[in-house]
């Protein structure tokens, strides 16, 4: 089963990976992104110590864009099922922000599709991250999709 979800609750990686498993597949590849403590400022190169993150989404469009990515991935790669779950709201350091699980009959396609999906998600799915430091906060701006 494919699925896309936005949730304000902690994400359990195991249950995401489990839900994409069909009986004919032998492997699932899962990308687990999480709130990291140290981030490098793109402009200054300075290492910043993050206290916590806040994620915000244009929710209905984000779900649509994730569904589009799954549809495209299933055309490009020989995969069976994809699950994408993205966390929203406040995340403590170390908490999982996104999980993408791909089940495929052959693991090579699962690796390739999972890597493609996270790359595309970061380009096209309308979700934004705010990094909060001891002395301020910044909405991170990504790279434009075109």
């Amino acid at each position: 089963m494919d699925f896309t979800e936005l949730t304000a609750e902690p994400i359990d990686i195991t249950s995401v990976a489990r839900r994409v498993v069909p009986p004919e597949c032998g492997a699932t590849v899962t990308l687990d992104g999480y709130a990291r403590k140290f981030t490098k400022d793109k402009t200054t190169g300075e290492i910043r110590d993050t206290l916590y993150l806040v994620y915000e989404a244009y929710e209905p469009m984000a779900i649509k864009e994730m569904e589009k990515l799954i549809e495209q991935a299933k055309k490009e790669f020989e995969i069976s099922n994809v699950g994408i779950v993205h966390r929203l709201g406040k995340l403590e350091i170390g908490e999982t922000s996104v999980v993408i699980s791909v089940a495929a009959p052959h693991r090579r396609a699962a690796f390739a599709a999972c890597e493609w999906l996270i790359k595309q998600l970061k380009r096209t799915v309308p979700i934004w991250k705010k990094e909060v430091y001891a002395d301020g906060e910044v909405w991170v701006e990504g790279e434009a999709p075109n």
Partner: protein, 79 residues
């Protein structure tokens, strides 16, 4: 015609709201709306902005229709 505007992240901070309605002349393009928004919220000019109309990405030369939901945001940073 009437548009429903949505702001997220930086643009919501700059606009001071997440949602507002605006009346604009019929046949207004996204680009003309952008000019209008920048004159109202000058800080928007210092960001690269993206636009979605009714939950789909659009180019800046898209012509808007009455009742469109227009989202204005910076390049996404989820993941």
């Amino acid at each position: 015609m009437s548009l429903s505007l949505l702001f997220f992240g930086v643009t919501a901070d700059i606009a001071g709201s997440r949602k507002s309605d605006v009346d604009v002349p019929d046949g207004e393009s996204v680009e003309a709306l952008l000019v209008r928004l920048i004159s109202r919220y000058p800080k928007l000019a210092s960001h690269k902005l993206l636009f979605a109309v009714n939950e789909e990405y659009v180019d800046i030369d898209t012509i808007l229709k009455d009742g469109d939901e227009v989202a204005i945001f910076t390049a996404v940073s989820g993941g």
